[in-house]
């Protein structure tokens, strides 16, 4: 079922792309500010930003869960008609949310690796004198882990909404 959740995510191109980009930006910024906070730069301000970003990620997860369940109510109702339990649908919905965050995380890692490679090249060519890693891996992994943890609340919301989807909706005419 997890693989099918990935398939459904990838087919929802617009929503998937938009949320992946937002998650990517959030993971990048949160990691950056954690890195700055650990280095003692920006003082308390860095940690305030980190808290704000976690709050935004929570809001985002809830919004994503709400969109996935509400916009596709008819699909989930049809799935219930053909024998899906609430748990089956929850696996699909949470899989879609989880996969989007995970892709956002890997894109950030990819960007950071490319940045490090570019800086290393420029250092070798003596264009850049002081090589610097933009963000350490630890803040990025920590951020992503916390983001995924925050999503448990979104899964809970999704489950409550999935429970409310009555299979009978599938039998009503479109627009009824």
């Amino acid at each position: 079922m997890w693989r099918k959740a990935i398939l459904l995510s990838l087919r929802e191109k617009k929503v998937f792309t938009v949320f992946t980009l937002i998650y990517m930006t959030l993971i990048f910024l949160t990691s950056l500010f954690i890195d700055l906070g650990l280095d003692g730069q920006l003082g308390q301000l860095a940690w305030y930003f980190v808290l704000i970003f976690f709050g935004v990620s929570l809001f985002l997860s809830l919004l994503y869960a709400w969109i996935l369940v509400s916009r596709k109510r008819r699909v989930w109702a049809t799935f219930k008609c053909i024998g899906y339990t609430n748990k089956n649908i929850l696996v699909l919905v949470s899989g879609m949310i989880f996969f989007t965050t995970l892709v956002g995380f890997f894109v950030v890692i990819e960007v950071l690796f490319h940045y490090a490679a570019a800086v290393a090249y420029l250092t070798q060519a003596s264009i850049v004198i002081e090589p610097k890693v933009l963000i350490d891996l630890v803040p990025v992994v920590t951020t992503s882990a916390i983001f995924i943890g925050v999503q448990i609340l979104a899964f809970f919301l999704a489950y409550r909404k999935v429970l409310k989807v009555r299979p009978i909706i599938a039998l009503k005419k479109v627009g009824e």
Partner: protein
């Protein structure tokens, strides 16, 4: 042949009321009905006569206010939601008026989706979906998305989805309501073939006169069964 005619679904003294805009509407009034295994039952009646409510109640999508629904020997009128989901997955196939295919999935994926929550391997699921699509003569369209198919093709895809798990009963609610006469005939012929070849019980709800396709016609009016022939 008579051994195959055992009772598939039985409705006993079923009542169902709705409250709409303050008024109480009696959708089903003391309905008693027997559908035997292998029958092609056409439930016919004007709009608002309670035929769709009856279908919903027979399939466990809706609960009756009183009475019993015996589905393959089991009273489903008070079954849990999970039990009903499993029952639908194992024994019931649905065909919808609006096809209800997932637009982001191809024809074969839409058919396969029924078996995703099962323990079957992907290869086995794919093989079954191919067989189902071949049965409805839609194999050449297996990689097409619903928007790339005509109404008739989408409904045939819906039928393939309804038969992939070899259900004992297929329930169709106005399944030809959105089709032109030619596609309607194709779909009805196909359902008749499935009924004969697979011995699947079919309950077909319609407001039109399609009794020539059924082995049993049930006429309804104002929540009551007025005639069974």
């Amino acid at each position: 042949m008579s051994s195959n005619k055992d009772l598939m679904i039985e409705a006993i003294d079923v009542n169902k009321e709705y409250r709409r805009a303050g008024a109480i509407i009696r959708a089903l009034a003391d309905v008693n009905l027997k559908i035997r295994s292998g029958e092609f039952a056409v439930i016919q009646g004007p709009t608002g006569c309670g035929k769709s409510t009856l279908l919903n109640v027979l399939s466990g999508l809706d609960l009756p206010d009183s009475g019993r629904i015996i589905f393959d020997g089991e009273n489903i009128a008070r079954a849990t939601e999970d039990r009903l989901s499993r029952l639908r997955r194992q024994k019931i196939g649905f065909i919808f008026q609006d096809f209800n295919l997932v637009n982001t999935l191809t024809a074969i994926e839409n058919v396969e989706a029924v078996l995703w929550p099962t323990v079957l391997r992907q290869k086995e699921i794919e093989n079954r979906a191919i067989t189902a699509l071949r049965d409805v003569d839609l194999l050449d369209r297996k990689d097409h998305f619903p928007v790339q198919m005509s109404g008739g093709e989408q409904q045939r895809c819906g039928i393939a989805r309804a038969i992939i798990h070899r259900p004992r009963v297929i329930l169709a609610d106005e399944a030809t309501g959105n089709l032109d006469p030619e596609s309607e005939k194709q779909v009805m012929d196909l359902l008749q073939k499935i009924n004969k070849d697979m011995e699947t019980t079919i309950i077909f709800v319609t407001h039109r006169d399609l009794s020539q396709y059924g082995t049993k016609t049930i006429r309804m009016d104002k929540g009551r069964i007025t005639k069974v022939q």
